[in-house]
């Protein structure tokens, strides 16, 4: 029988993978995908809680998160494209202008 714990373990694994991706990957696009992964890990946890608590709140919440995430992806990708056009790179280590 698959219970709440299983879902949460998967969610935690996905989240951990996302964190590692953000911290270790050098490509901005991959970093961005890892961020999305973290977001969806959280979504999974929400849906799981919602299902096992016999409520709909979490699921409704997830719809909103997905909507916002879609908008966020549109903006984020546009930014990355613009950045690439200017710098001709998406390597995180090459983009070190954010300091004094």
């Amino acid at each position: 029988m698959i219970g709440l714990v299983h879902y949460l373990v998967v969610s935690a694994l996905l989240f951990g993978l996302g964190v590692l991706g953000v911290l270790l990957q050098r490509n901005l696009l991959v970093t961005y995908m890892s961020l999305e992964l973290m977001l969806n890990a959280a979504n999974l946890a929400l849906v799981a809680f919602s299902r096992f608590n016999r409520g709909l709140d979490g699921q409704v919440m997830v719809f909103f998160v997905i909507t916002v995430a879609a908008a966020e992806v549109a903006v984020g990708l546009a930014l990355i494209v613009a950045l690439f056009r200017r710098k001709q790179t998406v390597g995180v280590d090459d983009l070190t202008d954010m300091k004094l």
């Binding site: 280590d93 070190t96 202008d97 954010m98 300091k99």
Partner: protein, 636 residues
């Protein structure tokens, strides 16, 4: 009628000043007319008020509550009694004459409107001092008088001497005002009010109320009068104030501002009725009352200023020292308890001294700002009306019967004779000196031969200037017959005064009252006159410097007061400045500013190293931050 008039009298000049400053600044004629109209209406209302029998007796106080701070409740009140009604009349009459005179005198000045605004503002401030019914309000107007006199003395501020003179007057007055304010605070702390009537009543009930501070309080209050009325040692500003336009000298430094000190002493005379006592550390001064100090300071000022006046060559400075000397008389009279005679002399002096200044102004106007009497001479034929009024005022100042000064000076010397014989002799000697230096001025400047080629072109001044002089000449000559002392005695003395005798008997009244004083007074005048005639009747240059040598030099240099003060200020200020410099350099700039700045910068440089610009570093730090925060929240 008497309810609203005082407010109009006080605020009309202020209204004129505000209107001129805000709206009519560009229109010279209109500004001058506004200002003159305001003060003339004030004068007329003062006359109406003065003749209204209900105003003087028993006096009237109009007040509105002004401010309440803690335990202090202050009214903005107008106090009308014989003292303030008389003073109102003097101030508005002299100010009116001088406003009209200025219309011609200042005509060619480019700041014509500003001049009239300042003059009106001064009149407002002075009337405020006269009408105040409590210490705080009086102090406020007192300061306004100081400010407006600063504006007027330094009116020609592009001349460094005038700007410096304004500054000097203001700063010297500040010294006295500090004492005045301390006195007011002391009185408030001891008696819980600043209202004159209330204080007078408290002290009348129990003269010991002020305890050990009675003398100190009296002397602190006197400090204010010492600066405003230019008594030794705070007299140094008055001669320098002659840098202002001459009508200003006539108004401020003859009739009003300098009289404010004497007026204030008369107003708060109840203070000196307290039992004299010194605080613990100063008991060795026991037996000296505040009034004695005041009397002696007045006497010394009178004598010293008269001595200095003998060796001055600037026509306005002679008059300035003469003013000092006469103010010394008045302060001496107050110190001897003679409020009536002090105010009597103040009244007559206001008229004849402002007349003298206006005469001097007329001469200066026609001689293109030449003020050295040794470059004048023979003006008698060129300016007969000016000479006539000037001579009349001189005779009044010397105290020649039956002119106004004769009566007031006799009253004053009579008071001194009854109270304190050394001061009487000092006053008598000063009277002789007064006649001497005034006739020196007359002989040198108006009689004799022309001493400069410009004299030939001199003409009489225009009617706008002559008229105020003639207007002032009337009271300067005849005021004595009006018996101001009888008018004031109704308020000041408990004994009802004798009825005023008819005018022809008044002339001889001093001889019947105290014949010795009257004869000695006339003798002093004669001595002074003949000495001046003998020395200056035909002199082409001043013979005194050769005869007196060093003394004459000291007199010409005003006994080196200015130099002494400059030295004292240089030493003390240098020390203070050195300390302030050290404090600023090491404590404020060093520890304070550089310390704060250095610490901030050090940490800023340290924290800067954390910012690498690497996205992953930021992500790690951010993640670590979230973990720490969560940990903190969850394990709480």
């Amino acid at each position: 009628m008497s309810q609203t008039f005082p407010w109009f009298i006080l605020f009309l000049p202020l209204g004129a000043a505000v209107l001129i400053t805000l709206f009519t600044h560009e229109r010279r004629e209109l500004s001058a007319r506004l200002s003159i109209a305001a003060v003339v209406v004030s004068f007329w209302l003062s006359v109406l008020l003065f003749t209204d029998p209900r105003a003087a007796d028993p006096g009237l106080t109009l007040s509105v509550n002004w401010l309440n701070v803690g335990g202090l409740s202050v009214d903005f009140g107008l106090l009308l009694d014989r003292l303030s009604l008389l003073m109102l009349l003097v101030v508005t009459a002299v100010a009116g004459a001088i406003h009209i005179y200025s219309y011609e005198y200042m005509r060619s000045d480019r700041s014509f409107s500003a001049y009239f605004a300042a003059l009106s503002f001064f009149t407002f401030a002075m009337l405020g001092v006269v009408l105040s019914d409590n210490f705080l309000q009086m102090f406020m107007f007192w300061e306004l008088v100081g400010v407006s006199s600063y504006l007027l003395i330094g009116f020609w501020h592009d001349r460094p001497a005038a700007a410096d003179a304004g500054k000097k007057a203001f700063l010297t007055n500040r010294v006295g005002d500090a004492g005045f304010l301390a006195g007011i605070i002391l009185l408030w702390a001891m008696l819980g009010s600043v209202n004159f009537d209330f204080l007078a009543q408290k002290l009348a009930e129990d003269p010991r109320r002020l305890g050990a501070f009675s003398t100190v309080a009296g002397l602190l209050i006197f400090c204010g009068a010492m600066a405003k009325s230019a008594q030794v040692p705070l007299h140094v500003w008055l001669p320098d104030a002659m840098e202002g336009p001459t009508p200003v000298s006539a108004l401020i430094h003859a009739a009003t501002m300098v009289a404010a000190g004497v007026f204030m002493l008369c107003r708060v005379f109840f203070l000196f009725g307290a039992t004299p006592q010194w605080p613990a550390g100063l008991t060795w001064l026991d037996g000296i009352s505040a009034l004695e100090v005041i009397a002696w300071i007045g006497g010394i000022t009178a004598l010293m200023a008269a001595v200095i006046a003998i060796q001055q060559n600037d026509i306005k400075r002679i008059l300035a020292y003469s003013t000092l000397s006469q103010l010394g008389y008045m302060v001496m009279a107050v110190g001897l308890g003679g409020r009536t005679s002090a105010m009597y002399h103040l009244t007559t002096h206001a008229f004849f001294k402002s007349l003298l200044f206006l005469g001097a102004g007329a001469v200066i106007y026609r001689l293109h700002h030449e003020q050295d009497i040794w470059r004048m001479g023979a003006l008698r034929h060129k300016m007969p009306l000016t000479f006539g009024t000037f001579l009349l005022a001189t005779l009044a100042l010397c105290g020649v019967p039956p002119l106004s000064g004769y009566f007031s000076k006799d009253a004053l010397l009579g008071r001194a004779y009854e109270q304190n014989v050394p001061l009487f002799l000092l006053g008598l000697f000063t009277a002789a000196l007064t006649t001497f230096y005034m006739f020196r001025l007359i002989f040198v400047a108006f009689l004799g031969r022309p001493r400069s080629p410009h004299i030939e072109e001199v003409r009489e001044v225009p009617g706008v200037m002559v008229l105020p002089m003639l207007f002032l000449a009337v009271p300067a000559a005849l005021l004595g017959f009006w018996a101001v002392n009888h008018y004031l005695a109704e308020q000041f003395s408990s004994i009802p005064p004798e009825p005023v005798p008819p005018w022809y008997e008044q002339v001889f009244a001093p001889f019947q009252h105290l014949p010795l004083v009257a004869f000695l007074g006339l003798g002093a005048i004669a001595c002074g006159f003949f000495a001046a005639w003998g020395i200056y009747g035909k002199a082409s240059k001043d013979p005194l410097p050769e005869k007196l040598g060093g003394l004459a030099r000291a007199m010409r240099n005003r006994f080196y007061f200015d130099e002494l003060y400059a030295r004292i200020i240089a030493v003390t200020q240098e020390l203070l400045a050195d300390f302030a410099d050290w404090f600023d350099r090491w404590i404020l700039a060093g520890v304070g500013v550089r310390g704060a700045h250095g610490t901030t910068e050090f940490f800023a440089r340290l924290l800067r190293l954390v910012q690498t610009g690497n996205l992953r570093t930021y992500a790690i730090l951010f993640g670590a931050g979230v973990v720490i925060l969560l940990y903190a929240l969850l394990t709480r």
